[in-house]
Symmetry: C2
Subunit: 132 residues, 2 copies
Amino acid sequence: MIDDYMGLIYTSIRVKDLKKSVDFYTKYMGMKIVGSRSWVPGEKIVMLLAKDSGQRLNLMHYSKGCIHYAAYKTGSEMDHLMFEVDDAKKLYDKLIEKGAPVAMKLWEEKDFAMGFVKDPNGIWVGVKSGRS
Amino acid sequence: MIDDYMGLIYTSIRVKDLKKSVDFYTKYMGMKIVGSRSWVPGEKIVMLLAKDSGQRLNLMHYSKGCIHYAAYKTGSEMDHLMFEVDDAKKLYDKLIEKGAPVAMKLWEEKDFAMGFVKDPNGIWVGVKSGRS
C-alpha cells in the first residue's frame, strides 16, 4: 500500500446512445449532470452525480473514427449499479411502464423491496428500499 | 423525476477470482473492506470503500452452481474505474512492476499524469494526478 492520498473517484460506463442514457439516469434514477468533457476527437463524456449519496458515474460515448471506438459488446465485467430509493416498487413499476426491460422481478417483503431492470445498454440496474 | 430520496449507492463488478481482486483493490488502489454478504448460495460479495472520496465498489463472485453463475465474458459496458492519487507515475510503475498489464501508457505533462492498467479481470483502471 502506497501512503499517498488515493481513491476511486468515479465509475465510467460506455454507452451506445448518449441521449438515451443521459435521460435514463437523470429523469428516472435521480442523477444530476455535473460536467462534460472530451479528451480526444469523437469522444463525449457526461459526468453524473448522485447528489444524496455522492456517488459518481460517467457516461462515455465514442463516435466511429474515435481512437477508442469499438462495436458495443455485452460482457459480464459490470454486474450491476445499485440505487437506494424510498419506494422501490413505485420506481420499478415506473421504469417498466417506460419500457425498461425486466432483469429480475421485484422481490417484496414487509419492509424491503428490490428489483432489477436493464438500462439503455443492457446494464443491470437495481432499485431497492428498506433494510440494507 | 420521482420526488423520493434516491441515489446510486455503489457499482458492482463481477470477478473471476475474489482473492486476486480483493488484493488488487485493497493493497494497491487504497480501498478498504467495509462488509461482505451473500444473498443466494454460491454468491460472495465483498464491499469496498474508497475512504477519501467515499466512492463504493462491490466485488461479486459466483461459484459454479450459483443461480447467477455465468462464464466470464469480456464486454464493453464498463469503460473504466478512475483513481485520483498523489503520484500517478509512482503508482502506475508499481502496478506494472507487480504484473498488471498496461492498458494505456502513462501520459505525463508538467503538472499532470494519467495511465491505465488492467485489473485482474481485464477492467481498465485509470490512475491520475494533477489537474482534473
